[in-house]
């Protein structure tokens, strides 16, 4: 790991002042579970780390039916899981955070860091950049793309968005608060994620001198949620596909369904096709299956990841069935 200087400011303003206007020289450190690994591998080579764990206001979590759930960026996944209000009102969020498990990771990893973790694409992690370029050409289409994107993969980005929390947060209509030198802004979680189209562009709509401070999740009583993920190993493994679902049942039919896929595209992938399939229909296994098929109808698999189309379809189907079977 290359040497760097370390700052541990106590206020948000101080932290923002320490961040330069370009990527590279400075990184924000929270739990460090992803960043420190990336630094060891030479993927991130900051000259300065700004630790935001000492900033008290980033470590708050509040809930009220009116304001919903506000999660400070440095709240750990373990703290999220142990929170009574989250357990009571946001079971889908609990499922998603559980899926990110190992116990050790839950203890160190933060909610903000989970959203902003970098992709696991093995070309990226081996130093070929987010776009996996060699001599100006992506290594992915003809390479080992078994874990790469099946949607939104027209190029040049083929990696998959790794966040476990993003799909359910999007399904729940959550927003993130970002603070920079010119103040705060708010974004729907979906908008936090972007598909880079050129070298040097990041996969998040986040300026180098901005800090993600809080996630706000509306309270929507009566909404049923579920997350389903499929991976090779039972744990400590990245899903090959995951789906998050939020919906209501009214008079025996489904209302306002949200279906968001994870791990299948460079960004979390909402599926209006699946949502249309579900809206106003009576839930059934066949309907869930039809929604799964609709969700992957536009998939464009690469040479070695066709199987992920099937997995994404099944993840959507099972998440819907699981949501429907829940009370609430």
């Amino acid at each position: 790991m290359q040497a760097f200087e370390y700052a541990s400011p106590r206020s948000l303003q101080e932290a923002i002042r320490l961040l330069p206007a370009q990527w590279g020289p400075t990184d924000v450190l929270a739990g460090g579970t992803d960043l420190v690994s990336a630094m060891k591998d030479g993927i991130s080579t900051p000259q300065r780390l700004v630790n935001i764990k000492q900033i008290a206001e980033l470590h708050r979590m509040t809930f009220s039916p009116r304001a919903g759930l506000h999660i400070g960026a440095t709240v750990t996944l373990r703290e999220l899981l142990d929170d009574g209000a989250v357990q009571q009102h946001y079971p889908g969020l609990i499922q998603a955070a559980e899926a990110a498990r190992s116990e050790q990771l839950l203890n160190m990893g933060t909610v903000g860091g989970e959203l902003l973790q970098r992709p696991r694409c093995w070309y990226y992690r081996n130093g070929y950049g987010l776009l996996a370029l060699r001599d100006g050409k992506s290594l992915v289409p003809e390479g080992e793309n078994q874990y790469h994107a099946i949607l939104g993969n027209a190029g040049p980005a083929y990696f998959v968005s790794p966040s476990f929390l993003a799909p359910i947060l999007i399904a729940l209509g959550a927003t993130v608060q970002l603070h920079g030198p010119r103040g705060a802004r708010s974004l729907p979680v979906q908008k936090l994620f972007v598909t880079p189209t050129r070298v040097g562009q990041r996969e998040h709509d986040l300026a180098p001198n901005e800090i993600l401070t809080e996630i706000r999740v509306p309270y929507r009583p009566g909404v049923r949620t579920a997350v389903y993920e499929i991976r090779e190993k039972e744990a400590l493994d990245w899903p090959l596909a995951m789906a998050a679902v939020a919906l209501r049942q009214e008079g025996g039919v489904l209302r306002d369904p949200r279906v968001v896929l994870g791990q299948v595209a460079p960004v979390p992938w909402p599926s209006p096709e699946a949502e249309r399939t579900l809206t106003g229909k009576k839930p059934s296994e066949d309907l869930a299956d039809a929604a799964g098929r609709a969700a992957v109808a536009q998939a464009t698999p690469l040479s070695k990841n066709g199987y992920k189309v099937q997995l994404a379809r099944i993840a959507v189907k099972r998440a819907i069935l699981s949501a429907v079977q829940q009370g609430g």
Binding site: A3, F4, Y6, G32, M39, E103, Q104, N107, L236
Partner: protein
């Protein structure tokens, strides 16, 4: 950077480079080599220690992140007279180890489990140890070792 860390009940202060990892701090500065280095990227769990009672993988924690915290390593589990902790006894009695390289991390992950849940089911034991890989024991005896320890702790509590 100056840091102050209480390791196994003893406070120490050191001036460290920000890039020093907690695992190296423990092994090289504090001389506590029972915390092992395995995968180096927070997968295998051989480097697991307790930070303020919570299991963390010290290979991806900077020593400066541990500033002000209390750390427990495998060396801190035994009593002053060298009396083994019930988990340590359990891993021995139930053959929860072969080469032993993963063992300290396994024990500390199990320690967190028992401190949160003194009567875990087999499924809960397996879930708590998902962050720790073993290459040669087969896990079955590791589950039995944790069960043994939970039973022992319970018996000790009833006795006391």
């Amino acid at each position: 950077m100056k840091i102050r860390v209480k390791i196994n009940g003893v406070t120490r202060e050191d001036d460290v480079e920000p890039r020093l990892l907690l695992v190296h701090y423990l092994r090289e500065l504090a001389g506590l080599t029972g915390t092992h280095i395995g995968c180096e990227t927070s997968i295998c769990g051989a480097c697991t220690v307790l930070m303020n009672g919570a299991a963390v993988k010290s290979c991806t924690v900077l020593a400066v992140q541990a500033d002000g915290s209390e750390i427990t390593t495998i060396e801190g589990l035994s009593g002053r007279n060298g009396q083994l902790h019930p988990l340590q006894q359990g891993f021995w009695e139930e053959h929860g180890l072969q080469c032993g390289y993963c063992t300290p991390g396994m024990i500390l992950a199990a320690h967190q489990l028992l401190s949160r849940n003194p009567h875990p089911s087999r499924a809960e034991i397996r879930k708590a140890l998902e962050g720790n890989l073993c290459r040669c024991t087969g896990y079955q005896h590791i589950v039995k070792a944790v069960e043994w320890a939970a039973e022992k702790v319970r018996a000790q509590a009833e006795h006391a």
